[in-house]
Symmetry: D2
Subunit: 162 residues, 4 copies
């Protein structure tokens, strides 16, 4: 299995992502981070309905609403180089389990303009906590997310799966 | 009762609302429309929890989840003049009941720069349908929204309340 | 040349596109429309720097800033079916020249859930006017946009190129 | 002069700020931070056109484009409690000069629900660097921003102005 197809993603800066300074407006990067996290889970084989809440009427037949929510408790971003409309980006994800009930995802955005060397443009981080939605008490990470974290650890040559 | 405090609102164009052309990016106007609709309901005296769904754990004690959802089935906007960061806006709302289960809100955005005459900058429209969330079948508008629509009709000197 | 690769696009509904009703929040659709318009131009072969303004310091060497801006003067959307997190969408674009200085793009969003027939989920429309940025006077559409409109007319079997 | 009117701001969580989990979607907080920073500068008496770039055609007569840009090089946020549609927020700003060419703003969001004690809901941080837009070289902070930072230091009982 290539790690490429679920830990290495691509996107392009769009016009609505920019502001009047002519470059990407900072908080759009955090949106890109979450979208990359969703895309990675999906590319790995985790159906969105297993992780994200949705209108009951649209839940796939036979699938229960997720018993666990994964709210973000912390996020950060570092901006190294300006990004303009049309800039192609490569996004490298590094999901890391922190403890049985939380994980973080580190994102590295590289700008890959034609005719230029790829350069680091920004770093992002989101930290997620597993909670029971009704009580908001902490709980264990859902199984599909555990598998994704373990596979990511293997792919990065780091911590071995349990 | 002055109509001013719930049908005439104010906001300022912010930097993140602009794009690299140096002016407001078009789809932000639709966001402003919905926020003005929410602000108008609240200023009229309708608690958000009576109209908008929210996490069950945060619902005010003793208040049921709204039995009716009001999704937007159509929206439009016309852009007359550019808006830049810092531009002060006056927003005039005209909510209109279309039938027992739907209404629309028309929004008129005026740009009120210091030392200039106010000018029309944009028009917006959102059309809402009352539905039962689980079945998605059409139903009647909720009472608080009915009262808001009737009061708006009176305020505009138009249709009299039933 | 297949029309598919620049008039038929794909995207997935993301969690941040939804609201507390559990479905896509209406104004996100207008963002998707503009992003589809940009992606179509790029897939057709028009470099973003030829059409969209950007920070001067990041303009590709040898490329002038676009002499023409294409602000949106009108937009609309119709919402037919709810979209939830993870829903795969097919977006069909129909760009139409209205006169020498303006065009519109019609967008048809189909929801293509696994195991279900594709269904129309929403329609969008953006209308663009060519103007000279400094004077804001109307002018002719830029050549690359003309070519894109002509090719779209041919692809749709409609109006023939001049 | 009361510090309240430019370092203590208010806003309300809106429906479009939420996601399908029924609570505020995390990256909206960073948007709120920047909007609070802009509102604070304006309430202190700094005209947006002195700090933020905008379309040349809309620049107030006699005012030059800002010679200095203030891009964000780092941001972060901590989320302590869920926020739902309609939640009233108090935002406390603490702008701090870091060196002659950079500053950060710390934001504390308190949730002030009727009938409940105010509680900390989230913290935000944005770090800004002064640069010359054309060269992107570091430079000194613009005078109006210096004055705002000094007044904030005095208001917080901290560092005295030079």
């Amino acid at each position: 299995m290539h790690s490429d197809n679920w830990l290495l993603l691509h996107r392009t800066v769009r016009f609505g992502d920019t502001d009047a300074a002519g470059v990407m407006h900072f908080h759009q990067l955090l949106r890109w981070c979450h979208e990359a996290y969703e895309e990675s889970l999906e590319a790995f084989g985790v159906a969105p309905a297993c992780v994200f809440p949705m209108a009951a009427a649209d839940r796939p037949a036979g699938l229960e609403a997720p018993a666990v929510a994964l709210p973000i408790v912390h996020c950060s971003a570092d901006f190294r180089r300006p990004l303009v409309c049309g800039d192609p980006l490569v996004i490298e994800l590094e999901p890391v389990r922190l403890d049985p009930g939380s994980f973080e995802v580190r994102y590295r955005f590289q700008r890959v303009r034609t005719g230029e060397e790829p350069v680091d443009a920004a770093l992002g981080l989101t930290r997620h906590l597993a909670i029971e939605p009704a009580s908001r008490l902490r709980c264990s990470l859902p199984d599909p997310v555990q598998r994704w974290l373990e596979a990511a650890a293997v792919a990065s040559g780091g911590i071995r799966p349990v």
